[in-house]
Each structure stands twice: as structure tokens, then as C-alpha cells.
Symmetry: C2
Subunit: 371 residues, 2 copies
């Protein structure tokens, strides 16, 4: 008996999101090796597409690390932070905390800008922090997957730049789903993943280093994540590792879909379906954790009403409707559900489905809605 999954999960959690049939077919393309001329042509195209999707300035190096989003984080940190670097890290959730840990591991003197979970960072607070502490690098999460909050990265990056610091931005849950402009916002390094708003399978981490970051890179410990060795492969075709043909083909197709839709239209779609979800949930008496102005369009942190058991409701969605949503992390465990509308998963039919599923889960726990 095979253990391969035989059910089509409706993936509406914090990721992976739904993979479109086009991307699945692309992934099953014939295997080509990491130095095959057909692969090199693909890699050049993927680089150009990523630079456009990140909206990077000329002279940037956009590519994909052969690992998940966390490997993107480590690639950014390990190439820009060295022993003794002063790193100011904005911690407004689980992934900000992970960024801080990563900077500490790579030897930085880390100062944390702590923000209450569920709130966005105030750029003025960051400015005061930098005035008091200084920083060589400022690291921040754009879309905090653990809280559903969108940090004002445009303003925060400007503050960091005023202080002469390099900026590292985590765009794991934002790239392709909410407005992000690495070039115009002056971001020096930005990474993401493939399995959320880009709509591919997980396994690669899109990343971009801008001109300042390329210039100020440090020699880190990691061989696998070494920016210069990765440049040797992507730009100079020198063997470094056996990049997965299947994952590159899938990423290529995901990016083609993103560009066919157009970034602006894609952002607008994510916003529209997010607003539809918020309105639908309100009809059930469900509210979101972040204030309206701070909300992500891609990941919705839905408050668990008093008296409702979080895991029971989540299990009801999975068992009865084959819908996956996420649990809260850390201090938010048991207090929120995390509902992702990302990539192909940001669609009106899925909002309708979610409304019905939540209604059923609440009714099961004695919470009948009288609309």
C-alpha cells in the first residue's frame, strides 16, 4: 500500500498554498542537469523574472537558493552579517524572532526592536532605536506570517537607510501577494519562498541582493549559502551544487503565471479576496487580530471566539471539508487561526467555502449564526 497522498487538500493555511495544474505539469518536465544548456537558459530567464517580480534595480543579483524560505533567510544573513556586526532586528512575531536568532548565530551583536504580536512596527520607534543603538544591518519581516501583520517596510527601510545601515527584508509571505518594491524602497537584500504567493511547490528560496549588499558582502561560514559561489554558478556556470531541474521548472512556470496576470492585478486580487473574507467572517461574528490598517491580504489571523476550542474547529475543517488552515504560534497558540489566501488560493470560491466551513465548525461547538 502506498503512503503517497491521495486526497486533494484545499490548502488555506500559512503555506504551502494550492499548486496550479500548470505548475504541477511543469514540474514533471523531463529532467535536465544543472549545467545542461537548456537549464542555463531557464536559469537566466528565472533570474530576469525574479528581478522584475522583486522590482530590483539594475546591478542587483536575483536568483533562487536551493532550499526553503528559511534557507533564503540564512543566505541573506550569512552573507551580510559577521562577528561583531551591529544588527537591529524588528521582532513583531515568530519570524522576526527567527531573524534575530539567525543574526546571533552569525556573530552579530543583536539589538531587538520588540513590537507587540499583532501590531505593526512604528517607523518612529525604529528611528529612536537606531538613534540610541546604531546598526550596521537592520533586519525586518514584511509580512509576519505568525500574526497576519504587514509591516510598513517602505518607511522602515527609509529609516534604516538614513542611518547608513543595510536592510534585510523577509518577504516570504508577501512576494507576489502584496505590494513590494525592492528597488524603490531601497532594500538591500530580500528573500522569499516559492510555495506561498508565487504558487509553486516549496524547495527554492527566491532572493535578491542589491548593489550595496553585493559590495558589502562578508565571507560567511556557509559553503552552501556562499553568495560568491552562488554567483559563480548562476552567472559564470561554475558547478556549485546540483540545482533541482524539477523545482526550477516549477518556479519558471509559477513566475510566468505571475507575470501573465501582472503584479498590480495580482496584488489587487489578493486585496479583493482578503476583503471579501473579512466581510464573510464578520457575518459569523469572527474578527481579525490586527488593526485594519495593519492587515496582510495574504494571511489572515482570525481570533478564536471565547468558548470555542481552536484545534477542534481546525480538525473539523480538515476532516469534514479537506480544508487546511493553520494554528497560532507561540503566544498566539489557541488564540487565532491562520487563514492564507495566497496565489491560486486567493479566489472568491474559496472564500465562500471558508465561510461555510467556519459556520459549520462554529455550529458544531454550539455557536449558531442567526444572520
Amino acid at each position: 500500500m502506498t503512503l503517497l497522498p491521495d486526497v486533494d487538500r484545499i490548502l488555506l493555511g500559512p503555506g504551502p498554498s494550492l499548486t496550479s495544474p500548470r505548475v504541477m505539469r511543469a514540474m514533471a518536465s523531463p529532467t535536465v542537469s544543472h549545467l545542461d544548456p537548456l537549464m542555463l537558459r531557464l536559469l537566466d530567464d528565472v533570474r530576469a523574472r525574479l528581478a522584475r517580480v522583486f522590482r530590483a534595480v539594475d546591478g542587483s543579483f536575483a536568483f533562487a537558493v536551493s532550499g526553503t524560505g528559511t534557507s533564503g533567510m540564512e543566505t541573506a544573513v550569512s552573507n551580510l552579517v559577521r562577528d561583531g556586526s551591529r544588527a537591529a532586528v524588528v521582532v513583531s512575531g515568530y519570524f522576526g524572532d527567527r531573524l534575530a536568532q539567525m543574526c546571533e548565530r552569525y556573530g552579530a551583536a543583536v539589538s531587538r526592536v520588540d513590537v507587540e504580536w499583532g501590531r505593526a512596527c512604528d517607523p518612529d520607534a525604529l528611528r529612536r532605536h537606531l538613534n540610541a543603538n546604531g546598526a550596521d544591518v537592520v533586519a525586518m519581516v514584511h509580512a509576519e506570517t505568525s500574526t497576519g501583520v504587514c509591516n510598513p517596510v517602505r518607511e522602515m527601510a527609509a529609516v534604516a537607510r538614513d542611518h547608513g545601515a543595510l536592510t534585510i527584508v523577509d518577504a516570504v509571505t508577501s512576494l507576489g501577494g502584496v505590494p513590494l518594491d525592492v528597488g524603490a524602497w531601497g532594500i538591500d537584500a530580500c528573500y522569499s519562498c516559492t510555495q506561498k504567493c508565487l504558487g509553486g511547490p516549496s524547495g527554492l528560496a527566491p532572493i535578491v541582493f542589491g548593489p550595496r549588499a553585493l559590495e558589502q558582502r562578508v565571507k560567511g561560514r556557509s559553503f552552501y549559502f556562499d553568495l560568491s559561489l552562488l554567483e559563480d554558478y548562476w552567472l559564470r556556470r561554475k558547478y556549485h551544487h546540483t540545482m533541482s531541474s524539477a523545482l526550477v521548472c516549477a518556479l519558471y512556470e509559477s513566475l510566468a503565471i505571475v507575470e501573465e496576470e501582472g503584479l498590480d492585478a495580482r496584488w489587487a486580487r489578493h486585496e479583493r479576496n482578503h476583503r471579501m473574507l473579512v466581510a464573510s467572517l464578520a457575518e459569523l461574528g469572527l474578527t481579525l487580530l490586527p488593526a485594519e490598517a495593519d492587515r496582510l491580504w495574504t494571511l489572515n489571523a482570525v481570533r478564536v471566539p471565547d468558548g470555542v476550542d481552536e484545534p477542534t474547529a481546525r480538525k473539523h475543517l480538515l476532516d469534514e471539508f479537506n480544508i487546511e488552515i493553520g494554528a497560532g504560534l507561540g503566544p498566539l497558540a489557541g488564540k487565532i487561526w491562520r487563514v492564507g489566501l495566497m496565489g491560486a488560493g486567493s479566489a472568491p470560491r474559496l472564500v465562500l467555502l471558508l465561510r461555510g466551513a467556519f459556520e459549520s465548525a462554529l455550529a458544531k461547538q454550539g455557536r449558531h449564526v442567526h444572520a
Copy 2:
């Protein structure tokens, strides 16, 4: 126009090898998330299968790193080598050299046991080296992909163990293709890849840590490769990264195929087809670089005859017959072709095809065979 590969390359280079249709179909299974009960069941099964394929002892931890074979190397090194560790590294080719670089990056005082490229390491030489230099860790490559040599790891690991050192073994081109017994040989950490003798797509690195290695682990810099965090995920279901469902499904199916054939039968098949290739090439006047006793069954280093242009012949195979073989690396560039018969690619029909293709390539350069 799509850039997705539209030709079925016959992959007979150093890897990736041919992916079987069963594995391709498995990879296209419906996506499940990294914490889905269906995924956790798969991961438990993959762990058990990997432990059997590595022939690990009870109390070992076998799993797969979310990256290519080089990420397996970095996971082994970064969790066992710390600043000041004495690491003796056997360097008999490109990948031994990479192991030495990796140990240096993680702070070890590295002593190299240099072996001429194309020859196997003499265990007595290793013993003398350890007597003279001592070592906390001894690192070695089993199947040196750059030279086609199989190092006598059973004897080398015994020598290392006599000296009380931990052993790290690179089995990237051996696991599933040539005899390897991590448990019986007393190997402490061993890693491989998915796209060679296991016959899957690249993107995961099977790895095993034995009981001594688990006990003597160090806290490394890397978060992504941190053994304890990876244990938290694989054993205690604590989120660490978004493991790729597609790649796990592919690895599951690859391992199922390996176990259906049986390891002993699989090794015997690789030996048989290797011998058939050597005999076929001899008919064309082509010989192998390593001495007969040192040859891998999975990767054949074929000498380029005097007067034959290496890249021209390789390009002929690709352009005329859609066959990929590999070039020589480092000091062997231009001097050898690297022909892999691995996984599904170790088959008599492919040996016939290679014989014909080499005959054509040599004839093209004025080397007609009169058998």
C-alpha cells in the same frame, strides 16, 4: 514560447541520473503541508527506509536535509566540527577537497591526507597520518565522483575508529549503487543525494547520524542545518522549515523502488552493467582511469585518447544522440569523460547505446574502430 525542456535527455553523466516514470508521477502527488498528518506518516516511513538503505544501527537518526548533496555535507560538518576541532580529511579528488574546505570554514584545524587523483586511499597511509597528526574527526569520500574511484571506506573507518575519531562519509555517488554499510563499518555520519543511485529528482540530501555522532554533536552556526532543530521537526513535529511535499513524495517512491529490488540485487546490477560498459569501451580502445580494483560501478572515468578533443566528442553525444555525459574536473579537465550508470540509468540497453555513441564520436574525429 515556453523554455521548459522538451527533450528527454538520456542522463549518463555524474548526475542527475534518469528519473523513472513512477518517481515522476509520485512527485506530482497532491501537495500536503509540512505538518499534515499525511506528510508526517510519509516522513516516518522515509526515515525508516533511509535507515535501512544506509544500514544504520538502532539509535541512529536518518532523515533528509532540504537541499542538495552539498547541503548534506554541510549538515554533517557543521554539526560535528567546531572551532579548533582537528579534522583529518582524505582528499583524493574534487569532493574530498570540498569536504576539507567545509571543515575549514567551520573552524577546524584541517590536516589533509592527499591521494593522487585517480587512485584510492591506502588505509595504512591514513593510519600513519593519524598516528602523526591525531584527529577528532576523519572525513572521507566513499565514491569520488570526480575520479571514478571507490575508496575503501570499510577499512578507513576502522582506522579512524581505532584512533577514537568520529567518521564523516560522503556517499553521494554510492548510496544505492555500491555496497555501503554504515552500521557494520562503524560510520558516525553519512550523507548522500537523491538524484544519483536512488534515481529521484535532486533537492533532498539523505543523511544519517549514528549514536556517537548524536551524542558528540556541537552547536554550529547554521540554523537551517541545525541537527537538533531538524530532530525537533522530524521526531517531535515542531515546525522548522516547509519541507517540500513534492520532493518527499519523490524520495518515498525512489526508496520504495530500491527496496523492492533489494539492496544486494541493486548493487549486483550496478556491478554487472559497469563490467559490461568497461568491456564494450575496451572494444573501442577506451580505458578507465582508475585501476580495476579501485573502480566505482556507478561512475566511470573514461580516458580521452590522445588526439581526441574531449568537448567535441561530448557535444557530439549530446547533439546527435541526446546523451549527456560529464567532463573532467580540475586536473582531469580535458583528460576524462565521466560516464554514470546510476539508478535507472544502470541498464544494458544504455550500455549498448553508449558503445554506439562513443564509436560514432571517435569516428567523427577520424578514429575508426576495426573490430
